[in-house]
Point group: C2
Chain length 316, copies 2
């Protein structure tokens, strides 16, 4: 795997951290950043500068990180689009702008996934050919890790979106070291012709994708029969949350700690809202790893190589 | 709860058992029927008369049950509608006709759920106001049993269908002894406005239903926060299969062993394809219990009392 140079001539990947996002922010975000001080990555803290400075001082680490001020925060339960429109100085928006302007290489937030996605789309944009980014979560299975997408970004999609998910998920699995990823469609039966209208149409569209092995039921996913499993963001989120509720899976990300929004033009990652310092640190390392591995560039190449383009058939 | 007289002046409920349905039929079905010989129910075995007679003889129980001959079987992987059209003498069709003609009070099969649903609709029909019957499964939760519907009958539905599911599910919970059932909509977030287009529209429609408490995520369902959880048959089946794959739930039925197809004009029940004799016996008892409890009559009353009618807005 080629490792492209990090943008901007920086020695290490630089992650713009929405320091105000998440249930335990900014305490957990600042403490998490401090845990990776000695790693090969840089962190920019974005949020209320006074609070962030005082958090650092309390930890005896004044001046440890560059701080970029943002005076507002998007709450977990706010409508993402409305909140972003109303709060031009929201931490997630300011952090996304840093990535868009090349001042950071990746965006990470433990705040609202919807707001992170919306800010990413607004400031950073999509890869050519992608209309609906997907959350890629990594599930532990009896056969090793399996990439699930969409784990919750886009609840209503056309069948063609699942083709883009398959191509992006295969590139993601490739970056993670899987040679020839096996791709499955999450469904309620193994045979062709099963499922709802979306699944049936997606099955037909996916037959042209290299590595597609057909429908997979939840037990086949947990048995590790595929490396990538694709579905719409509603079903994927129900699936993921059911696994979590049943104690059968912890959402992981590339490494642990964060899930990647595939389809954005630069790396955008979301950590659990309840992330503690250790999980924020893991998510920061994951973000840096995604940059170093050139995941976004790899996905862009694969979308072009396979001629994958979602139809612009709806309003999103 | 009033217990209506069993139809036809019979002393006990009579169940038409598709003796050829299921992975281990007819051995498991005949053995299951023999386990309930001393119970307050009658069983009619429907299928290949010669094989059924020889099964009974081998068990030293020649003549134990009435046998109704049917020369064909619908396979688990056949298209239900096509198979039923082509096989007029299929065991599931003949068994459904017995119920339609009043010669039995309930239909039970461990064969294809799709074929059982199709045969039920064809021969027995729907309750007034229902367009899409739903599979009601009973999930064990930390707060006691919760009725899930649709657990897999109808993958593509209009939002109005979920209102009928709520009314039918509440009646089902009522028959099971729940006083004022709490009804939730399976969703990816607790707040209003979450989910895909179907969930959002269903939420609005459900607000008028007595007992509706709003969206419930998978963890809230497993915590027992609702007595009834409604969703479309695709999401419900993914949810159920994920719980089963994660070891968090065994599908139960009214009692254990079978799930009820709510919305048919007479009781129709499906057992697991892999059901063994003990599970077939439990399913037979469940079927008899549904008849004795007057579940279908109660649902019919509730649909009328609440003025619930699904719109005839699609082709099914």
């Amino acid at each position: 795997m080629t490792t492209p140079p990090v943008a901007g001539g920086r020695p290490h990947p630089r992650v713009a951290l929405d320091a105000m996002g998440g249930d335990h922010a900014p305490a957990a975000t600042v403490a998490g950043a401090l845990l990776v001080r000695d790693d090969d990555l840089e962190v920019v803290l974005v949020g209320d500068a006074e609070r962030l400075r005082s958090q650092l001082e309390e930890a005896g680490a004044a001046g440890a990180f560059e701080i970029v001020h943002a005076g507002e925060v998007v709450g977990m339960d706010e409508d993402p689009a409305l909140a972003l429109r109303g709060k031009r100085d929201a931490s997630i928006r300011v952090a996304a702008a840093l990535v868009a302007d090349g001042k950071a290489d990746a965006l990470l937030s433990a705040g609202s996934t919807g707001a992170t996605l919306a800010a990413g789309l607004l400031a950073i944009g999509r890869l050519d050919g992608v209309r609906r980014p997907a959350v890629a979560a990594v599930l532990p299975t009896r056969g090793g890790p399996t990439v699930l997408l969409d784990a919750g970004a886009s609840p209503d999609v056309q069948p063609e979106a699942l083709v883009a998910y398959a191509v992006m998920g295969a590139a993601f699995a490739g970056v993670r070291g899987v040679g020839a990823p096996r791709i499955g469609l999450l469904n309620v039966g193994g045979e062709p012709g099963k499922g709802n209208a979306l699944a049936k149409a997606a099955y037909s569209a996916l037959e042209a994708v290299e590595g597609f092995i057909g429908n997979v039921e939840p037990d086949a996913v947990l048995a590790g029969e595929v490396d990538v499993v694709v579905t719409d963001g509603f079903t994927g989120n129900v699936f993921l949350k059911t696994l979590e509720a049943a104690g059968a899976a912890a959402e992981e990300g590339t490494g642990p700690g964060a899930a990647v929004l595939l389809g954005c033009a630069r790396p955008v990652l979301v950590a659990h809202g309840a992330a503690d310092a250790r999980e924020v640190a893991a998510a920061l390392r994951t973000a840096a790893g995604v940059v170093a591995a050139g995941l976004t560039e790899r996905i862009a190449e694969q979308l072009v190589a396979t001629g994958t383009r979602e139809e612009a058939s709806d309003d999103g």
